[in-house]
Symmetry: C2
Subunit: 412 residues, 2 copies
């Protein structure tokens, strides 16, 4: 269960703006132009297909190596990290993503080849980091790729990687062509590796589906209000902070940063540069780091607090009074979960009192249903904000120039 409370004033938001946001999303979904709206339901049969593969996979492999970067890894990591404490027996997942030689060689050195299933993920099929690492893996492990059941591929239909997979008889899964990389976690991209690892992805999809239905029924309009507020005040508040109170949100924050930043940082139809800058923080650590800037620095940020009411982990702060340290005894006998939640509430209160625009998202607990709901929430929020900014939320033209320059360096 998720609970949403907007603490900013919505009285200056034009109701028409909210309708415009809703209608834009409705149109995107119904026209079939944007495919992620279908994924919560459309990916459910995929879970069954992948589950059917599991007995054979379980027998041979205890680790999944995901070879992918950006939209092909961030979402998987986000869900894995959130659900891992509640699914301790899921297979280990390792990520080969950055072209950093130290990381790549470290991860490769830890892989037990016979027990590892490799999943190569690239929407375009031509991501240079992913293909370079894949080549390195082939050579490092003397991997016989042809007709191997140790390598799977996830890519767009017809991509060069898909053609490579077919030629070599590799099992292959498709990302629908109308689903962008950063919106793809509920497609095969996330479902295949997470299901094979043993996570309950069906519940994730059902959670997303339930939230989406409520949204279409106009029962989650807080989301449209928030998008309208962000876009209306984009000049005043160019930054949007997500302050999540649990280390398990670290990768979720990175996923959100890609989704928000890459979708909304654009030239609009008039060629003007628009965009909102995402910042992901972790409480209570960043209370000792970034909070001072929020509370007393320029009022140029909105802040979303996120916290978990009930934790699976009931670790207690002992009833232990240490001489000279009695000042901290006020938390004795409480759980660490009570402490971190109280820190969230106290910080939220002090941030609101500093005149910062705040909203609050409470998870009853971390479970599959809420994870799915939260993913679709951020995707819808992004789409609504993009529609109101009058940009193409789903492309990323700005990163092409760098790729061309890169090729130029090597071809010279």
């Amino acid at each position: 269960m998720l609970r949403f409370v907007n603490h900013f004033s919505t009285k200056n938001i034009d109701p028409f703006t909210i309708e415009k946001g809703y209608e834009a999303l409705r149109f995107e979904a119904q026209s079939g132009e944007v495919g992620y709206y279908d994924l919560p339901r459309a990916s459910q049969p995929l879970v069954g297909e992948v589950e059917a593969l599991r007995p054979a996979i379980d027998k041979k492999y205890n680790t999944i190596a995901v070879i992918g970067i950006g939209g092909s890894s961030l979402g998987i990591k986000a869900i894995e990290r959130l659900l891992r404490p509640g699914t301790p027996n899921a297979k280990k997942i390792v990520y080969l993503e950055n072209s950093d030689p130290i990381s790549v060689s470290q991860v490769i050195s830890q892989i037990d080849k016979p027990r590892t299933l490799f999943i190569v993920i690239s929407k375009s099929g031509s991501t240079v980091e992913t293909l370079s690492i894949f080549k390195r893996v082939i050579v490092a492990f003397d991997l016989k790729v042809e007709h191997s059941d140790q390598v799977m591929v996830i890519s767009d239909e017809g991509s060069v990687l898909a053609q490579y997979a077919d030629e070599n008889g590799l099992r292959r899964f498709v990302i629908p062509s109308n689903v962008g990389g950063r919106f793809s976690v509920l497609s095969a991209v996330g479902i295949v590796p997470l299901t094979l690892a043993g996570f309950d992805t069906l519940e994730v999809l059902k959670g997303a589906e339930a939230f989406l239905e409520r949204f279409w029924e106009r029962k989650e309009d807080h989301l449209l209000q928030k998008a309208a507020y962000y876009v209306t005040n984009a000049q005043r508040f160019p930054m949007n902070v997500l302050f999540a109170y649990s280390d398990t949100f670290e990768e979720f924050g990175k996923w959100m940063v890609q989704l928000w930043g890459e979708s909304l940082g654009k030239r609009n139809r008039r060629g003007e540069r628009v965009g909102l800058t995402p910042i992901a923080l972790i409480g209570s650590v960043d209370q000792h780091s970034f909070l001072q800037l929020i509370v007393q620095g320029p009022l140029n940020k909105t802040v979303t607090f996120m916290h978990i009411a009930e934790s699976e982990e009931s670790l207690m702060i002992p009833q232990l009074s240490l001489r000279y340290l009695e000042k901290s005894d006020f938390v004795n006998g409480h759980s660490f979960n009570e402490l971190i939640n109280a820190q969230c509430m106290a910080t939220m209160k002090s941030v609101i009192e500093s005149d910062v625009s705040v909203d609050d998202i409470e998870w009853k607990k971390i479970d599959e249903h809420s994870v799915g709901g939260m993913i679709i929430y951020y995707e819808l929020l992004t789409s609504a904000s993009g529609a109101l900014l009058e940009i193409n939320t789903y492309d990323q033209p700005g990163v092409e120039l760098g790729k061309q320059i890169l090729e130029g360096y090597f071809r010279e």
Copy 2:
């Protein structure tokens, strides 16, 4: 060796501003008001003291558990992560920092008590997260604290934690009172755990000392130009991005975020809210995430690129041409280090062409000397920016309110 190139135009910067920055730092250092300037030299004898303890420690312990948060952990993690690949035999360091019940119980469950040395770090001595976790550790491991050589304390002279340590006969190290938490990594805070773990902290200090000397000799004025540029353009560019090309910079980025954000987000002498927002990114991962926003979003950010010319790790991209995937063959036969550096250069070029203010920091390689230099570089940059913003760079009044509210919750 570090090489600094500012790609932004300095022609509009008042030379007087640069002199003002330099003189402010000179005054802070000479008056003794701000202590971190002394650390590169003053901490050198401490390394010897700690080295003298090592034979006894090495015999008993193979792991160091750092109990601390914010300024008491971020700097240690930053240096450890950067130097670990070149110092693979250093003792394992685990961090108990967040009051997140899942993390705390996970780290505690992995600790082998008889082989672990616990170091409790808190400048004020009363940090609630740190003391709560310390109590949990005492109970979980039935730790006999009195006169134990298994627990060390690092805190301000006279703090409650220092008094507790003395009463119990624990070995204790002091953070100079004129050194703030986020500026303390070159004090006992960083030196004690890193030296005990086996890192060459003397070289880190010497690297910092060498850079500092060159700065005082006016041989590193690029730093003052950058601070002057940032402050002069703070309204136009409220955000400062560090885009570092290696996963090993991840914790360095978090350390920088605390230093920059908490130091510069303040009310100035006229009560106005000032501040610059730090954002830490990792290349090439964030080329697939945040880059679009930098290149086509609003021109409200400066970007610092950081990269390593030579890597210890010579991992190669194989000369392997895979049918259908030939488009990525342009990097075949090159090293991953060449690839990630070329990605940095290409991205930097495309960002400069997008009219973003850029500077470039090149490390010849990651070594202790450069790590020390880079730490003092960011500290000086922060101090110079704070002086030009006319704020108190070294306090953090904004986080007090939240702490009071927190106590209120529990005392009710």
